[in-house]
Symmetry: C2
Subunit: 332 residues, 2 copies
Amino acid sequence: MTGRKDGVTISDVAAAAGVARSSVSRAFTRPDMLSPETVARIKEAAERLGYVPNHTARALSTGRHGNVALIVPDVANPFFPPLIRAAQSEAERFDFCVFLGNTDEDPRQEDKLLGRFAGQVEGVVLVSSRLSDAQIRAHAAMRPLVLVNRDVEGIPRILIDSAPGVSEAVRHLAEIGHRKIVYVSGPPTSWSNKQRRAAVRNSAAKLGIEVETVAAPVPSYEAGKEAVGAILKTGATAAVAFDDLTAQGILAGLIERGIAIPKDFSVVGCDDVLGAATYPSLTTVSNRSVEAGTVALSLLMQMLQTGIAHDVRHMLGTHLVIRNTTTGFVKK
Amino acid sequence: MTGRKDGVTISDVAAAAGVARSSVSRAFTRPDMLSPETVARIKEAAERLGYVPNHTARALSTGRHGNVALIVPDVANPFFPPLIRAAQSEAERFDFCVFLGNTDEDPRQEDKLLGRFAGQVEGVVLVSSRLSDAQIRAHAAMRPLVLVNRDVEGIPRILIDSAPGVSEAVRHLAEIGHRKIVYVSGPPTSWSNKQRRAAVRNSAAKLGIEVETVAAPVPSYEAGKEAVGAILKTGATAAVAFDDLTAQGILAGLIERGIAIPKDFSVVGCDDVLGAATYPSLTTVSNRSVEAGTVALSLLMQMLQTGIAHDVRHMLGTHLVIRNTTTGFVKK
DNA sequence: TATTGACGTGCAACCGGTTGCATGACATGT
DNA sequence: ACATGTCATGCAACCGGTTGCACGTCAATA
């Protein structure tokens, strides 16, 4: 097992081709500066020797390493993987690599990762950041930074606007006969949670139906299931949950208590991460995480290329996806 | 918007502390070589100036950049995120960063990524690789490489051994009265699929019960649902699915046809990625993806530190998790 | 024919650390 | 008092590229 280092450097190629090291460099980065024959000779030699440019060395002298960081609260939350994937393939279009960071929903961990990545990446995408506005601003001052689902003025941000979808959901519930509904809230520091709660309240007020809020501090199946007691106690006949996982837990909790869905109770999720895979299939608000990932990354690339950061605030709309946890409700 | 470069280098610190650059370097990498007072003075200066060592520069001279790559077929498949997360936090223990690669189940993409990462990472973890043995060997010859769920002799590999869990499942099904079962298979090139199919057949043969195989070429909810027709046609009374997603689809398909679960039909999944979140909650084979991620990474770290690659073949056992899609079957 | 400019190439400094070796100060042993 | 050894520190080369500038050649222009 000999092979560790390839060992073929620019000097080797230069020697083989009978030119200076700088010419080899230029043959790859600015071939137009050299005569076509020289370029050909160098490339031939490089090919023959199996030369591969060393990213690290290049990065040291140019300051551009072709890497960006993507930091999310929890890779295992089904909301994020499609976003990650989209961001990654967009990065690849620009020949960039992605560092993935997972913060476990912990701001300290987030800060630590940001520091660890610094100097290895040219820019950062922060998804659903739990940092304070001040911390975010501080990082943004050091390097190009794009936010997803976090609204800090002056910093480019992509926001998935669930308000239209949520409003539509409330209207839908009112139409099929509900007079009192519950919003089952998510993480208190989440921008999306605040936005959804506000959207539920506003639409309900407009439609003249009652709303109460029940807390599910963590967005998970278990938390949803546990919230069912509190939900039923309100006397509401429908629930809008912070996300699909919570909704799925609520579904399970209701079924366990013998409550028929959608006949006796309606449930609406958010983010559409489960597709039609619940039973009954879940009515939910559509999700734009793929676009969010793509846009965030292309925005970052643009910032890197131009060197300027516009104060972009990119909103992505949503809509209601009606399935079988709402239609079929029978008003008493 | 001035701040781009921190600009604080080892030279700045050296000047501030009144020592040579090499002493600053040593203050961080080999403090034992310097007098405690000098170290203190340098660290103080570094702190005051906000000095952060430049990874790229360090990498250039040492050849160690503190990065590893983790390549998976599909981040969005719920099997992988926990593994990714575990690997990432293990990497962090060693102060390493993780590059994440997504191949979209495409061997060409996998090869491309591997090339793109080369020179930026010290080692690679390949999860459920779709490359040929020869390609894997070629890459392994160039740099430290660890495989997960792929069995290539001579290359360190972590294998999640679903055989024990699957065998237990078949025994369980036999015990509650099934005489004929179906294995719903996954991707034909998958090592796990081959292993699971074999385990089902072997145990069934031992217990004297009948097995048929139905193909669901892609592991997904939809594919599972579509397979239901074929499953019922076999006359079997239970299905063991390649994974939980497929099982969930089967569940939905059966319920849609009015077949009561578990009374009339039993379903077993694999990988336990859905928790108890299906209805009825799914009996499945446990998953060791977290350990797989952790072990793969620590193995890689060990290889990097010692420089030697033992021919490790690390098996992680599994067991059956009994929930409500099996118990309650009523034999006719 | 002398002048000018364009063009292709090489030289050498630089990016920000690391590290082998040399040096000088001081302490120890005899 | 002198030889020897230890220890802390500095010098300078090096990792593998990039890039501003200088130089020489050759053709076009005056």
